[in-house]
């Protein structure tokens, strides 16, 4: 396998000055679940469980493929979760079991959310 020897340390998210196409004009309205992700980030970081730099660090470490294939708030919830586990707010086992329980409630977001 050929090894890439050209990497200079610049990370994928550090985009300033790189070539890119026209600025896209599509706009989407935020769904309720996306607003909830935003709110969880502001609340949990506001209470000192992690920082916005912790959020960014995980987003960066998720890599370019995540940037290209996941939506903004999909990446955010992945990072919020990672930071909360690192902070010891809950364990991976607690998350795992809760996610299974959520999925068992029904096949749509409306059915799976308790409110």
């Amino acid at each position: 396998m050929r090894k890439d020897t050209t990497f200079d340390g610049r990370r994928w998210h550090d985009m300033g000055g790189t070539a890119a196409g026209p600025v896209p004009t599509e706009q989407h309205d935020f769904a309720l679940w996306e607003k909830r992700v935003d709110a969880l980030m502001i609340i949990a970081s506001g209470k000192g469980h992690f920082t916005v730099d912790g959020l960014r660090r995980v987003l960066e470490d998720m890599g370019e493929e995540a940037f290209e294939t996941m939506t903004y708030y999909e990446r955010w919830i992945a990072s919020v979760n990672q930071n909360l586990i690192e902070a010891g707010v809950y364990t991976t086992a607690e998350l795992a079991q809760r996610m299974s329980k959520v999925a068992a409630r029904g096949p749509t977001y409306g059915e799976a959310t308790c409110d």
């Binding site: 200079d8 340390g9 610049r10 990370r11 550090d14 300033g16 000055g17 992690f50 920082t51 730099d53 912790g54 960014r56 660090r57 960066e60 690192e86 902070a87």
Partner: protein, 95 residues
């Protein structure tokens, strides 16, 4: 106009979470204003206690950052750079 205080951004390329854009590393600009101190994001990102650092808004000319690849050399870029990434420098070209 008061005399410009020039700074060079360190050209280091570490891994991990840093807030110094790579396109500015090694470039010389002048201090637009000094802010802070603010906690070092390179420590905050890993849940560590963070050292308060001065934060400087550095103004760069397009010519300094992009050389001939810019169509408006006198346009500028301002960025906030934490002090540990900055070193005093001479003016990059005759003012």
């Amino acid at each position: 106009m008061t005399e410009r205080r020039y700074m060079r951004v360190r050209a280091d390329m570490p891994p991990g979470h840093v807030r110094t854009p790579s396109y500015l590393r090694g470039k010389v600009g002048w201090v637009e204003r000094t802010l802070g101190p603010f906690p070092n994001p390179e420590q905050l990102a890993y849940g560590r206690n963070a050292t308060p650092l001065p934060l400087m808004r550095i103004r760069f000319s397009m010519a300094e950052v992009w050389g001939n690849a810019t169509d408006a050399p006198d346009d500028t870029i301002d960025a906030e750079i934490y002090s540990h990434w900055l070193e005093p420098a001479e003016a990059p070209h005759a003012p």
